[in-house]
């Protein structure tokens, strides 16, 4: 199967949306995105962690140490209030973009 990299700039949106379901650690985020997208989307670790740290610095998410279901210490990320606002904003932008692209595809 040809590998589909997550579209540039959409990684933030995906992570925010995923975390909206509840706190989870980095590995779980990659798994969750992969499974909900029916294996169409795969998040690369090399992009994920810098993105997580950047979003943490922006104040959209916060990180806490917790215990994973495999009973190991792991860093759990969860949305902050600012993160929720950012998610709403990015969702709006995304649907505007897809609408626009849909229109172009339909009429040309």
């Amino acid at each position: 199967m040809a590998k589909t990299d997550v579209l540039q700039g959409t990684l933030t949106l995906l992570v925010l949306k995923t975390l909206a379901a509840g706190a989870m650690h980095g590995y779980a985020i990659t798994q969750r995105i992969q499974s909900t997208s029916e294996d169409l989307l795969r998040v690369e670790e090399g992009s994920l962690y810098p993105a997580l740290h950047r979003m943490e610095q922006q104040g959209w998410i916060k990180a806490e140490w917790g215990v994973s279901d495999t009973n190991r210490r792991a860093r759990f990320y969860s949305l902050t209030a600012a993160g929720r606002r950012q998610l709403a904003e990015e969702e709006r932008n995304w649907s505007r973009l897809t609408n626009a692209i849909g229109l172009v595809l339909k009429f040309t």
């Binding site: 540039q8 700039g9 990684l11 590995y27 690369e44 992009s47 962690y49 993105a51 495999t70």
Partner: protein
């Protein structure tokens, strides 16, 4: 694993600890490995596949883009960290660079805060820019005004809102414990309105009020413990009653610390058009420019010249912003010191540039490797600039810290002979200046290695030799350094020589074994009281055992003249020049000439009313054929004196260009309330200081006695500000020379190190070590000589600027220029000696093997 650790590094830089991130990534790695195992991979493959996902192209490619934005912001920090690491590997270089820069920054910052206090900081009055000083001048020389003319300006110049005048005097406060001298401003007209000073307690006085006084905040606190009950109390100043009506704000200094402001007394207010004792200030209307004020002022002055030809004939007036006028005396000395400090800073910068350049040369290989690995020119330049910025900021910080000490030292060291309208402070303004100066320095000396680096060619660098361009750049820098230090040394040499001149030309009196005592009466003291006092004091003094002679003079030698004016000689027609030329007048009493040790060449020294003793210069000028004794002269157009004696010339000013003609009259024949008693003693003058004070106190217990000190000490004081200035400048010149020597040494040392192989081959082929030695030394001396030539040429052009500090020394004095050249060449030879010896000791066998 390399890419894993790169990700680790990238993340670490953002603040979390390395362990935290490592743990997080390892967790991810293990989870993924476990998933792979579940999927049926064997252990090794599962692990490797998990690792690969950290190391796939997304890390180097597109996936990193949004991270890259943050990375480039981090470049500056990375460059600075790298620069610090690089410099810490060369602590000697870093220390030298930072220390020399700190020295330069320190000196300039300390002097900046002095200059700031005098020229830049706004005066502590509302709208200080509207306040102007009305400076009157007569035939180009500034002269003071009087209440009559002040009134003319106030009523006839519409551009001015308010006009006031002042003079300062010391009033003695009695009846409040021990008598104390109060530095008092006597105000005329609407002085307080011009400054817009509002008392913090009580009220200010009206224009025509008399017998009232405003106390300074400082005096109110120290003498009256900040007690408001002082308001309304009566104080006795110089025996006259004054009512305290208010207290001034703490920040008022005019032109420096004052104790009180009081309206002028009636006799001063009634002074005539001829008098000249008043300084005038005015507030211009906000909508009117300084030029307009000056135009109106010029027109009024023209009218006054025509209306009062007797007094105002050659007078003109000019409005000058008050701050500039108050700082006028300080301008030249401060400017001189400041420029010297800036020169030192500049030389220090060149030194650092040269050091960095040598480092850049050493690192050429490193740079070319960076370039071949794809580092852009921009990255390289940034890298070098970061290093110079670290040095400059380090130097700036140290300089700033040291500058605080330097300022305290400066203020203690220099008896500053100019007023400070605001007290010098070391605050954010100084810090800002230091920061700006160090950043400018960083850019300045960062330029050289950067230019070198960005012009580097790969092939050239790989060969491991220095480009010819780099060597010449360093030589040029050292040459510039030498030239700058020559400039400084020549200026200092000239000022020092004129100081030597001043202090070693004959003074005309004998200051050893002489005690002096100062007594200052107020300007409104009745003449009879002053004269009675001095008669009694001189009588008491002569009875002290060990006193050989006692006299009094209005002003001590070297302290300037009191009154001056042209004289007429009865029975002689003077040349036009002499008719206008001023003669100094000194008032004496008692046996002044014997006490001061001034020789009487002809006639006698003891004066009766209407008699005068003149100095030798006056005789030469006015009686070229001799026979002065017995002739009569007229001073101030009306007072007639008979010459009874001729005294030797005495220096009038500490720094004197030309000996003025001088005449001595009895103090009773004029009015001068400031007295200097001169007492010649048989033994140590200091030993009888106590009995002198006693006998003066007996004359009037209420009279405040000023300083009692040996004349020698008083004289040292009058020239010590000059001396400290020269000493300070000398330090600057010494530092400059040292820095230039270090620079020269540095360039030769690295030259020798680079030419080691060449020298080894020469020696192997039979060159004499002595020849190598002299060649290297002469190379250094030639370089210094080139810098010297440029420096001397520059000095010839620039020393005109220090001309106002020179006495009896031409700005092109050959001795000074010669001495500086000699010192420089000797220093250059010494600085070249060590590298030269090192060159001559190169072991040919060893270098050939290398």
């Amino acid at each position: 694993m390399a890419i894993f650790s790169r990700l680790l590094n990238t993340l670490t830089r953002r603040g979390d600890s390395r362990e935290t991130i490592a743990e997080e990534l390892l967790f991810h790695l293990e989870e993924k490995t476990r998933a792979n195992l579940h999927a049926g991979m064997d252990r090794a493959a599962a692990r490797e596949s998990a690792m690969r996902s950290f190391g796939n192209r997304s890390i180097l490619g597109d996936g990193m883009r949004d991270v890259d934005v943050i990375l480039s912001l981090d470049d500056l920090r990375r460059d600075l960290l790298q620069a610090m690491r690089g410099l810490s590997r060369r602590p000697g270089l870093a220390f030298t660079a930072i220390a020399s820069l700190a020295l330069g920054i320190r000196a300039t910052t300390a002097l900046f805060s002095l200059a700031d206090a005098v020229f830049l900081r706004p005066l502590p009055f509302p709208h200080p820019e509207q306040i102007v000083a009305l400076v009157e001048s007569k035939r180009g020389e500034t002269s003071n005004s009087n209440p009559v003319r002040m009134n003319d300006w106030a009523t006839q110049v519409p551009a001015l809102n308010a006009v006031g005048g002042y003079y300062s005097e010391g009033l003695v406060l009695t009846g409040e414990g021990a008598p104390v001298r109060l530095q008092t401003l006597r105000s005329f007209g609407r002085f307080l309105e011009v400054l817009r000073v509002t008392p913090v307690a009580g009220r200010s006085f009206a224009e025509d009020e008399e017998g009232v006084v405003l106390l300074s905040n400082q005096l109110w606190q120290s003498r009256f413990h900040g007690d408001f009950s002082v308001l309304g109390r009566t104080l006795h100043l110089n025996g006259m009653a004054y009512t305290v009506i208010g207290v001034l704000p703490a920040e008022i200094r005019f032109p420096e610390a004052i104790d009180a402001i009081a309206p002028a007394g009636r006799p001063q207010k009634a002074a005539s058009r001829k008098a000249g004792f008043l300084s005038i200030v005015a507030r211009r209307k906000p909508e009117i420019t300084l030029e307009q004020v000056n135009m109106q002022l010029g027109a009024v002055a023209e009218r006054l010249r025509r209306s009062y030809p007797a007094t105002d004939r050659d007078r003109s007036a000019q409005a000058i912003p008050l701050q500039r006028e108050l700082g006028a005396d300080a301008r030249n000395p401060l400017l001189l010191l400041f420029s010297a400090a800036v020169l030192v800073l500049l030389i220090a910068c060149v030194n650092v540039a040269s050091l960095l350049l040598s480092r850049a040369v050493e690192r050429k290989r490193e740079s070319s490797i960076r370039i071949s690995l794809g580092a852009g020119r921009g990255a390289l330049i940034r890298h070098y600039l970061a290093e110079s910025m670290v040095i400059s900021i380090g130097g700036g910080l140290f300089g700033l810290l040291l500058g605080k000490l330097a300022l305290t030292g400066l203020l203690a060291l220099i008896p500053l002979d100019f007023p400070f309208p605001t007290p010098p402070q070391y605050d954010w303004r100084a810090a800002l200046f230091a920061l700006g100066a160090s950043l400018a320095c960083g850019l300045f000396f960062g330029w050289a290695p950067t230019w070198q680096a960005s012009s580097g060619r790969l092939t050239e660098s790989y060969r491991g030799t220095t480009g010819v361009r780099g060597l010449w750049l360093r030589r040029g820098l050292v040459g510039a350094q030498v030239a700058l230090s020559v400039l400084l040394m020549v200026s200092v040499g000239l000022v020092a020589k004129s100081l030597y001149r001043i202090h070693n030309s004959p003074m005309g009196f004998e200051p050893a074994s002489v005690l002096t005592a100062q007594v200052n009466f107020g300007w409104d003291t009745p003449e009879a009281r002053i004269n009675e006092y001095s008669t009694r004091v001189l009588e008491n003094l002569s009875r002290i055992p060990g006193v050989a002679a006692a006299g009094m003079v209005d002003r001590l030698p070297l302290k300037g003249a009191t009154q001056t004016g042209p004289i007429q000689v009865i029975g002689a027609e003077l040349s036009e020049e002499l008719k206008e030329k001023a003669v100094d007048e000194r008032a004496v009493k008692g046996d002044y000439f014997s006490a001061a040790g001034i020789p009487i060449l002809e006639g006698r020294a003891l004066l009766r009313t209407g008699e005068t003793v003149v100095n030798q210069t006056l005789v030469h000028r006015y009686f070229p054929k001799g026979g002065a004794v017995g002739r009569q002269i007229i001073t101030h157009g009306k007072y007639r004196f008979t010459i009874v004696g001729v005294a030797g010339d005495v220096r009038v000013e500490a720094a004197q260009l030309e000996q003025p003609a001088e005449l001595f009259i009895r103090v009773e024949d004029t009015y001068w309330p400031l007295q200097s008693y001169v007492i010649r003693t048989v033994g140590d003058p200091a030993s009888i200081a106590g009995s002198v004070r006693d006998s003066m106190r007996r004359a009037d217990p209420n009279q405040l006695i000023g300083k009692i000190a040996p004349l020698n000490e008083t004289l040292v004081e009058s020239s010590s500000d000059q001396r400290t200035r020269v000493w300070l400048l000398g330090c600057f010149a010494g530092i400059a020379l040292l820095l230039a020597a270090i620079g020269l040494y540095g360039v030769l040392a690295s030259d020798v190190a680079q030419r080691k192989i060449e020298i080894g081959i020469r020696l192997a082929l039979g060159a004499e070590p002595g020849g190598i030695l002299s060649r290297t030394v002469s190379q250094g001396v030639l370089l210094a000589a080139a810098g010297l030539a440029v420096g001397l040429a520059g000095a010839l052009m620039l020393t005109r600027l220090v001309a106002s500090f020179l006495y009896g020394v031409a700005p092109t004095d050959p001795l000074v220029f010669g001495a500086v050249s000699l010192v420089l060449i000797v220093t250059a030879a010494a600085a070249s000696w060590i590298p030269a010896v090192r060159a001559s000791q190169v072991d040919p066998a060893l270098t050939l093997r290398e």
